[in-house]
Amino acid sequence: MARSLEGFLVLIVAALVYSSAVASVFQPISDSHRSVALELFTPLEGSFSSLAETYEALRTFEVLGIDKKTDINTAACQSVLETLGSSSSALKDLFYALKVNGILKCEIKKDVFEGVTSSLQATVSSAGALLDFYYSVGGLVIIKDQTSKDDLYLADAEGVFGSIKALSQSDGRWRYNSNNPESSTFAAGLALQALADVVSLSSSEIDQSLIGATKNDILKLFDSIEKYDDGTFYFDEKLVDTHEHQGPLSTTSSVVRGLTAFAAVTSGSLNLPSGKILGLARFLLGIGIPGDAKDLFNQVDSLASLESNLVAIPLILSLPATVLSLTKKDSVKVKVNTVLGSNAPPLTVKLVGVFRSGSKDTSLVEGQELKFNPESAVYALDALPKSVDVGKYTFVFEMVLHDPDHLNLYATGGQTQIPIFVTGLVKVDSAEIAVLDSDLGSTETKKIDLSGENTVSLSANHLQKLRLSFQLSTSLGHAFKPHQAILKLTHESKVEHSFVVGSSGKHFLGLVEKFFYLSGKYNVQLTVGDAVMENSFLKAIGHLDLDLPEPPEKAAQPPPQLLDQKLRYGPKAEITHIFRVPEKLPPKELSHAFLGLTLLPLLGFLIGLLHLGVNLKNFPSSSVPAMFAVLFHLGIAAVLLLYALFWLKWDLFTTLKALGFLGAFLMFVGHRILSHLASISSKLKSA
């Protein structure tokens, strides 16, 4: 019994996962699309670069309800007239000119249309390539709409239908022309559009077998649809073609346009699963707001064709907020819109179930109906179910259409699962930090207040344990386990250690290596946080003095820490060179005083000479010796002067040279005067 029940549960879960594995919330087109559209489609000097671009801009503005026609009108109409009037215009330009005209309604004379019609009809009958069919038939349809010419028919509609159909492949994709074997999903979209146009231009009923074959092609095409995990579907080109690669967005939008156009002109159901249409809508919405003009056009245009298609109109269930606060008493609000954001037909939104995410237990609530507020077009649940506590949930919604006829018209996608975060305040109680000697005895237990400031100071050694405990409880009184409960110890050297709070106390013995044997002061910091906890906190608790043993020789070094950027990049301190101190010299006055003193002996000498009564009576009286005496003393004076010159400016060599001459001269005159004096004195002695 138990086993079978288990199997049953698994089945339910599997079914739920399959039915709508919605992980993301899709929002319909909103005002932000409009502002971006205005930004992206800004004409350069009043006109766009090409008619195709003009059409894309106009079509996007039209769908989004932006009135910008007047700005573009004149330049665009001018270009339309030129293109339609010229006989040499390319087919593609003609097509886009007609499309632009379809929106702008430029004033075009009847005979211009006549000319274009006949040239397009000629092209249709001679065409062989898919794009030729697409542009020419498409152009004719627009002319028919604009000129309300009911007699505009294709001569051989069935034949044209047949030749387009002949390009189709067995897998539902189309070839661009019969020569090119490569088939493309993008081309399939164009072909479906062209076929739809052919049908609307046909004067008689197209053969049902051809229509049926095309419907079959569409079904085959949908077999190749691709899928994301969140329930979105899209088309992509299998072959990454070389020159004109179309991304998933343009491929998908081409198929969506073709499909809706084809469904609009043919009778009978296409038998496409509405879930896939909804998935395509989700894919187009899931892109968000494209930043590229072409992408925006593709998104908006294909969503517009989904908005009123005959296969299934997707309804998008969205929540303005998936984060609901218990403290603010938020209520569950749901909006149901079409893809372009207009209101849905009358329907009821039911909350089928609420599941705790990650657990497989049964729903917390019975099915509940949401109240509709017609003014704001919001479905709301007045209060969250009583049993819903803070946490992550999956809410399962279901849309029930009131009118049974609508069932085939709209795609609601069955049940929609939406992840909901219910947030609230979490109470923190009985927080304490303790250092334990062993498993039992505790030496220091300190109560801490995790709502205020704490400056606990603890000390421990490597044989002790640290225990931090606190209780978290939700407003409903349930114990709460946060995702983030991290205790961080930061050493003075900025080495950090984080611990997940939850396991038992930390034993420092096992951690000494992790701490790199760094004793000293550690700052203790506790972070508690959770996605659903409104009062997540980061608290400094205080500090812990750790006394760890000396590291052994081979202990790992603490990892290097990042350098302070200011240290590395700041200017350096200035350096001025300290010059060698010059030797200490006496003050000038002292030197001058001693200079005076050194003059004194000379003065004394002169005064002494005067006292002694010095005379020069021995000076030779005769002229020749007197001349030698004068020369001798001039020589002495010259030598002394030479000394002075040597001191003042001359170098040794100049001085010695001069002294050599002077010395010889002095020797000669000295010898003469001295021998003269000697002879006089010897005469005196002998006399």
């Binding site: 968000g288 950090e496 984080s498 350096i575 005379n615 009576k617």
Partner: protein, 465 residues
């Protein structure tokens, strides 16, 4: 990793990337024409490849995607680059024709890797090619996200940044998350812990927080070229939001870097972030309110942050050049071949910053010159005339030997300037000492009175009777 660096082939040249001022090289050209031609030939590949101020308008960037739809979802960023004159080349990262260089010439000046999940680049591109690209002075932007592949992570590791190894981990912050009605798991971070640097983030303060959703990285402490530009708050951690934490997260708090930059020694600049969405139109346009703060900003700070930082990365700001390093004796104008100790000298150098369009005078009050022989003997801050000319004067120290004038300018975010010029200093010649010392006057007096006395005495001795 050892950060990329290139040995500067000319010790006296500022950097081979920078064009020389014609006036300064005029003389040198005539004297060393052979040498110049030779060095030009050697440097030609370097000159033509990297940041070239002569042709800033044709800077080419290669942008690699996993998925071409990013071109549309991140178009605001690309359009802002285009409007600043960049030539962008968008390619799929597995494009088989991918190549950064052809015939030894680099085809691009910068690389933007917006392809987080690529396991192997297409064509000739691989890890070594990306690193060579950076090693030759080119710029790089790497954006990863939760799908980051080993290849992208190893490129980042080579640049000095380590992404969290846990592939399912995201940056979670329960305190400074962005308040959005439909994002409940607090992985959308509103970060406002910016680096304080005008050169990196522009002069206008970024008011609104920057939205970040992605993976954490930390800086390699051994690499001192990498900088944290945007760091997470102290309460942040890197973990898988949908599974229970069993072991402590490897990265917590402000250790987590959200956006980092590297400026290599060759002035190649790299920006690394763990969030590709940071650049997206959705984040650019999104309004932002940080949890716990009452203020709601209409627009997130992402656009300003990314624009300013990309200006830095692509050298539109913070790129300096120094020219005309000159010195002369006080009162003279010619540069001497040698100084004597205790000479007074004037020193000047001109520094300019590249503004994206032209070289503008760089104004700062912290440029310093060193008079250097094994260690700085004089280190002096230069004063400037607000027109780019920096000058100072000082006395040559009383130590002789071969000195260098050195300008080492390393400021956060700026390219580093390393200039040096060698100059010998000689001692006094014998005749350059002081000639008449006052303290010796008594000796002079004694000698000369002695000589005068002798002269007089010679008369007295010879002719006295």
């Amino acid at each position: 990793m050892s950060p990329p660096h290139r040995v500067n082939p000319q010790p006296l040249s500022l950097s081979p990337r920078q064009p020389k001022d014609p006036t300064t090289t005029e003389m040198a050209r005539s004297n060393f024409s052979v040498l110049t031609i030779l060095s030009v030939i050697l440097l030609l590949p370097v000159l033509s490849l990297s940041f070239s101020p002569d042709s800033p308008s044709d800077r080419r960037l290669l942008v690699l995607f996993d998925d071409l739809s990013l071109q549309s979802s991140h178009s605001i960023f690309f359009n802002s680059l285009k409007s600043r004159g960049f030539d962008l080349d968008f390619k799929l990262a597995d494009d088989p024709k991918l190549a950064l260089q052809r015939y030894g010439q680099y085809l691009y000046d910068g690389l933007i890797l917006f392809s987080p999940s690529i396991e192997r680049f297409g064509g000739a591109l691989d890890l070594a090619a990306v690193l060579d690209f950076v090693d030759s002075g080119h710029d790089l932007i790497i954006a990863a996200d939760s799908s980051a592949s080993d290849l992208i992570k190893s490129v980042a590791t080579e640049c000095g940044v380590d992404f969290d190894e846990d592939p399912s981990a995201l940056v979670i912050d329960h305190r400074s998350y962005a308040v959005v009605g439909i994002e409940g798991d607090h992985t959308l971070i509103a970060a406002d812990d910016f680096i304080e640097s005008d050169v990196l983030l522009g002069e206008n303060k970024i008011e609104a927080p920057v939205l970040f959703k992605g993976i954490a990285h930390s800086l390699n402490a051994a690499n001192n070229l990498v900088l944290k530009v945007l760091s997470a708050s102290p309460a942040a951690y890197s973990a898988n939001p949908s599974s229970k934490l069993s072991s402590p997260p490897s990265l917590t708090g402000s250790t987590i870097s959200l956006v980092s930059v590297v400026q290599a020694r060759n002035n190649a600049r790299i920006m690394i972030t763990g969030s590709l969405d940071l650049f997206s139109n959705r984040f650019f346009r999104s309004s932002v309110q940080k949890a716990g703060s009452p203020k709601r900003y209409d627009k997130s700070g992402n656009e300003q942050f990314v624009a300013e930082l990309s200006k830095w990365v692509f050298h539109e700001r913070g790129h300096l050049k120094a020219v005309n390093l000159r010195h002369n004796k006080a009162g003279e104008t010619d540069e001497p071949a040698m100084y004597r100790i205790k000479d007074d000298l004037d020193f000047s150098v001109e520094i300019y910053e590249w503004s994206g369009k032209s070289w503008e005078p760089y104004v700062a009050n912290d440029v310093q010159v060193q008079f250097y022989m094994m260690s700085p003997y004089v280190l002096k801050t230069l004063s400037n005339d607000k027109k780019g000319l920096y000058h100072t004067s000082f006395k040559v120290p009383d130590v002789y030997g071969v000195f260098q004038f050195k300008v080492e300018y390393n400021r956060l975010g700026y390219t580093s300037l390393l200039l040096s010029k060698q100059i010998p200093v000689r001692p006094f010649k014998h005749n350059e000492y002081e000639r008449f010392i006052t303290a010796a006057f008594p000796y002079y007096g004694a000698s000369f009175t002695m000589m005068a006395g002798f002269f007089i005495f010679s008369f007295v001795y010879l002719y006295h009777k």
